[in-house]
């Protein structure tokens, strides 16, 4: 049975600098949770605290309902994969894999059996007698993961394990890793600065910035309903269009004006916006297109640049007043650079953010 991990009101200060600020994260048994945020957001510090490599200034680490703050990594039953893999350079792959068991004084025969098991799982059976320096980046990473999964652990921590791989390998390993952890059912906490890894791999993402949790939830939920402007801009590629605008009313109907855009608001959004006049408007690129949506509004613009992704393309629109807006078209839309005309906005997908607190409305 997989374990639960609860980081309860963790704060970590280094001198005057607050690296982690009152963070609470709850991870359900077998859940794959990702801490994501720009560098310096405190995600690695949080991971190190979970791994007992650092002590929190305040707060507690609870595993399976037991307060484990004062216990070390071994007592907490933590396994960890490091960013640099941190393989023991003087030991062979076989000895690297077996090391955690050797420390726990597991009998030799048992170690040999489990090393072979882990090697089969990670498909590194043919590398067992090599030293880490004789392995490629992808192979080293497999060994590092093998070393983490060889012993039963309560929680597995992964510190940017994909960041040292080249782009093609990263996408492949991403899927393999996700499958592996889904099959093992281990509770996992994963740290990355790459929002696409967070989106593709996680059951749940925790978005961090400046040591504070910005939002946590299922990847699609966070994508669809970002809690604030930061999350909206950080999650999703291309970035969400974020335009400062004013609330107005067109003949009594609530509307928002942002540059060339003049959008009617749904009753729900209008109510949420309340009496504000300044607002930040958020629209995803896929909700801006040259063809109309079921419930859409339009503005006129020219296509300045097209970024082809193969199956789709990112359109860089320039409006009459000089504003820039990103849209998305499917492969066969037939529009290209220099095109100008009406561009449609999906009114059902418009988000509003408070211009001061940047929180979603």
């Amino acid at each position: 049975m997989a374990s639960t991990l609860r980081l309860e009101r963790i704060t970590k200060r280094f001198g005057d600098f607050v690296a982690v600020d009152d963070v609470t994260v709850d991870i359900a048994p077998g859940e794959f949770t990702t801490l994501v945020g720009p560098s310096g957001c405190g995600k690695t510090t949080l991971l190190n605290i979970a791994a007992a490599l650092e002590r929190p200034s305040t707060g507690s680490i609870v595993i399976d309902g037991r307060d484990m703050t004062e216990f070390n990594a071994r007592e907490r039953g933590i396994a960890m994969v490091f960013q640099s893999y941190a393989l023991y350079p003087h030991l062979t792959v076989r000895q690297n894999l077996g090391f955690p068991l050797r420390v726990q004084k597991v009998p030799k025969a048992e170690i040999a059996r489990r090393v072979n098991e882990a090697a089969d799982l990670m498909e590194i059976g043919h590398l067992l007698n090599r030293k880490p320096r004789e392995l490629s980046g992808g192979q080293r990473q497999r060994v590092a993961i093998g070393r983490a999964v060889i012993r039963p652990s309560t929680v597995c921590l992964l510190d940017e394990p994909l960041s040292n791989l080249d782009a093609a390998l990263r996408v492949r390993v991403r899927a393999e890793l996700k499958l592996l952890f889904a099959r093992m059912g281990t509770t996992t906490m994963f740290v990355t600065h790459d929002q696409s890894e967070a989106m593709t791999m996680s059951d749940r993402v925790v978005v961090l910035k400046d040591g504070k949790v910005q939002q946590q939830g299922a990847p699609l939920e966070v994508y669809r309903n970002p809690a604030n402007v930061f999350v909206a801009s950080f999650i999703g590629s291309p970035q969400m269009n974020l335009l400062p605008g004013q609330l107005a009313s067109d003949d009594g109907r609530p509307a928002v004006k942002a540059g060339a855009l003049d959008l009617g608001l749904s009753a729900g959004l209008a109510a949420a916006a309340g009496a504000r006049s300044e607002i930040i408007l958020g629209i995803r690129a896929e909700d801006i297109a040259t063809t109309p949506f079921a419930n859409s509004s339009k503005f006129s613009a020219r296509i300045e640049l097209v970024e082809h992704l193969g199956n789709s393309a990112i359109m860089h629109y320039r409006t009459a007043d000089g504003g820039r807006i990103l849209g998305m078209e499917m492969r066969d839309s037939g529009v290209g650079t220099g095109w100008s005309g009406d561009v449609h906005v999906n009114l059902d997908a418009v988000k509003l953010f408070d211009s001061k607190t940047t929180a979603a409305l």
Binding site: A52, L53, N72, R74, F82, S84, Y88, H90, F99, V103
Partner: protein
């Protein structure tokens, strides 16, 4: 090593027109090497020759640079002398014990200094004291050591030398190993912590094997320093704990200069260093580059 370097420097002379130029270039390079080699090798040759010459051949008008009329008598006298045997043994014991002690203790000191943050900026204080101790001219400590050993009743004993040499070598070892440990990636030790190692297990199973080559290099330097040490041996010993450098120096007597025996004993005393350097050569080459090349 030198040959390899030369080969990689040699231009690719595939066309016939270049052959002459590369030949001249090679002659020039080998010429330089020969001169350099002569400067280095000649003193050794001279030492070997002197240890084998007859006594009468030492003081001839132009010195004898080459002769086939050789004798082993100096060797027999020098090595057959039970006193010299004792001095050789003394030197070996003192060197071995103080090298092992200084390397082990210094490595442990360095590891702790590199990994543990002591309160009240003690790390800095300790580091600077080590540096100062290292910069102190050994001669200024010889007299204090003499007085200390007299108080302890250790004068003219091997422990006196072992204590002095270990003390002198400790700052050197600590400083060298400290820079090594500071360069050692910490994630590997963190991995060991997560894998359940205590601090000692971490040191014993992970850090020690990884630092073996730099420890060997450090040990070699200590070994050579102690083996050749004259000043402290001269100050702290008189008869029974004398070491070989003192014995060699004392051949320059008031009324006789035993060139032959002196040369024989000199060679006998550098053979162990040569052997040691050859056995740890593998580590030496790796260790010298340990700061420059990672992994």
């Amino acid at each position: 090593m030198t040959d390899l370097a030369l080969m990689s420097l040699r231009p690719a002379a595939s066309r016939a027109g270049f052959r002459w130029r590369s030949l001249v270039g090679q002659a020039w390079r080998y010429g330089c090497l020969v001169v350099l080699l002569a400067v280095i090798v000649f003193p050794i040759y001279w030492l070997v020759l002197n240890s084998l010459k007859h006594q009468r051949d030492f003081f001839t008008g132009p010195p004898i640079y080459f002769t086939t009329d050789l004798t082993l008598s100096h060797w027999q006298e020098a090595l057959g002398n039970p006193l010299n045997q004792k001095y050789l043994l003394n030197t070996a014991i003192v060197t071995a014990v103080s090298t092992v002690l200084a390397t082990l203790a210094g490595t442990l000191c360095a590891y702790v200094l590199a990994r543990i943050r002591l309160p009240f900026r003690l790390n800095r204080v300790l580091l600077i004291s080590i540096l100062i101790a290292r910069l102190f001219p050994p001669v200024s400590l010889a007299i204090p050591y003499y007085l200390l050993m007299r108080q302890l009743g250790l004068l003219d004993t091997l422990p006196a030398l072992v204590i002095a040499y270990t003390g002198l070598a400790l700052p050197f070892v600590t400083w060298l190993m400290l820079t090594f440990f500071q360069d050692l990636p910490r994630e590997i030790e963190r991995a060991a912590m997560v894998d359940g190692c205590t601090m000692f297990q971490r040191f014993r199973w992970i850090v020690l094997p990884m630092s073996l080559s730099s420890m060997m290099v450090t040990a070699i330097f200590v070994f050579m320093g102690v083996w050749n040490e004259l000043l402290y041996s001269l100050t702290l010993t008189s008869l029974s704990a004398k070491t070989i450098p003192v014995a060699i120096a004392s051949f320059v007597g008031d009324n006789a200069l035993a060139w032959g025996q002196m040369s024989a004993l000199s060679i006998a005393s550098f053979v162990p260093i040569l052997l040691m350097a050859l056995t740890v050569q593998r580590y030496l080459v790796r260790g010298i580059t340990f700061g420059a090349v990672k992994g």
